[in-house]
Symmetry: C2
Subunit: 256 residues, 2 copies
């Protein structure tokens, strides 16, 4: 285990997290390192291209090299490449914010999104995370995971809002519902007043690889709208699954 590499990555992460360029002493205090250590690490990150001096003398900020590298990593995820037309189609029909998400651990990560043109809309960031059990796309993904994944769920779950599913048992029940009806709904379980509808996307092997869904204020998600949106997201998800090579007539058997 290289502690110098770990320390360097910590420094990079701290600079990357910052809204404004950072100074050496401030970073040293935050990271509990010495000024000379931080200074020398920053010079190395500059040489590597990840960091550059800020406009104020003695400060440092991130370059876009991380973004270039990361975009390359994400661009090679097949589903993201193929999802665009389905997301755009869904955006036109619903006028709401559309997400493409994947499961990572017990979170979903938003790989892509199309913002709603309406002034009042759900806010999220590409690359952002949310707890899977609290959002529609997360529940859509969890519903098709195998026992090995579901076993890792703790008995008590985090409850960001009063509507959040708080126990593993209640979540498993809800996931059964998701499988039966083919879509998942978030009724304000992650952020107050923000809901959504999502459906699972399968690859050519019948493996769940992503979820596609829409989100917006819960006021715009009354039962009639949910019925409409659920049809639309399931159609979009099936279309994307088809373009990934999924050829089974219905849903695949539940993963082992």
């Amino acid at each position: 285990m290289d502690t110098t590499l770990l320390k360097g990555l910590n420094v990079l992460e701290a600079v990357a997290r910052s809204r404004a360029p950072r100074g050496v002493s401030e970073l040293a205090r935050e990271l509990e390192l010495t000024k000379s250590n931080v200074h020398r690490t920053l010079q190395t990150l500059i040489a590597a291209g990840y960091v550059r001096p800020g406009s104020v003398a003695g400060t440092y900020e991130c370059t876009l090299k991380l973004f270039e590298m990361a975009s390359g990593v994400v661009a090679r995820i097949d589903v993201r490449q193929l999802a665009d037309p389905f997301m755009q189609h869904l955006a036109r029909l619903t006028k709401e914010t559309i997400h493409l998400s994947i499961l990572e651990g017990m979170d979903v990560i938003y790989l892509n999104k199309i913002e709603s043109p309406q002034p009042v809309r759900a806010y999220s960031t590409i690359g952002g995370r949310a707890p899977a059990h609290c959002v529609a796309s997360g529940k859509a993904l969890l519903a098709w995971q195998g026992e090995a994944v579901l076993r890792e769920l703790p008995a008590r779950l985090s409850s960001p809002t009063q509507r959040s599913i708080a126990s593993r048992d209640a979540l498993l029940e809800e996931l059964g519902r998701v499988r039966r009806q083919g879509f998942a709904v978030n009724r304000g379980e992650w952020r107050e007043g923000v809901g959504g509808v999502a459906a699972i996307v399968f690859d050519m092997h019948g493996m769940p690889v992503a979820a596609i869904g829409m989100s917006g204020p819960v006021e715009r998600l009354r039962p009639a709208s949910v019925r409409k949106y659920s049809q639309l997201v399931m159609e979009a998800a099936l279309g994307l699954s088809r373009s990934l090579g999924y050829s089974q007539p219905g849903y695949p058997p539940l993963a082992a």
Copy 2:
């Protein structure tokens, strides 16, 4: 300068560049390191969360941590946050691929894009780079740079296609044209058969911060279309400039 940190970042970059998970020996050969060095570095990157074992035993691949970090960095660039509605509007009007780009060195980097719904469309990746002198958005950005930037242009420029601008003098002449007419055109100067139209975006201080533009096959960029598209991209660029706080009546004086 910490060579251990540099070496670690090299390993991470090699894994991030790869289309498939990589093995220890292969990485060691490519990076001219020993197997034990690569192996230990990968363990450190796993501990830091950037790398994980691949599905094939003994292989390694990137996680999405880079993407999460990088998305945070890019999300805080004001222009990217505010550009979405202008890009979507432009996409609806033109039906072509829309880009938001910034200048970095002598390249442009694509911060965001909206793909054209048409089957034949320009291909690019978010986070991707292009030589600024060869693309519309790059020329739009270069046109408003100061002497300090333009002086760095070499006398002979790279010529990816026969239509590329090949000399610094010819480029400066073209940049004068861009300033006068308010938009830049790419007539197949970067990729054969792919063209585009772009306009500059200013911030509240009158500094050029981005370019917004559309691209597509040159067959769809005949003079009548260029006239139409140039109006549309200038309107979108001005709207975005206004939302960034740019309040001057016309174009700002050329940067020093």
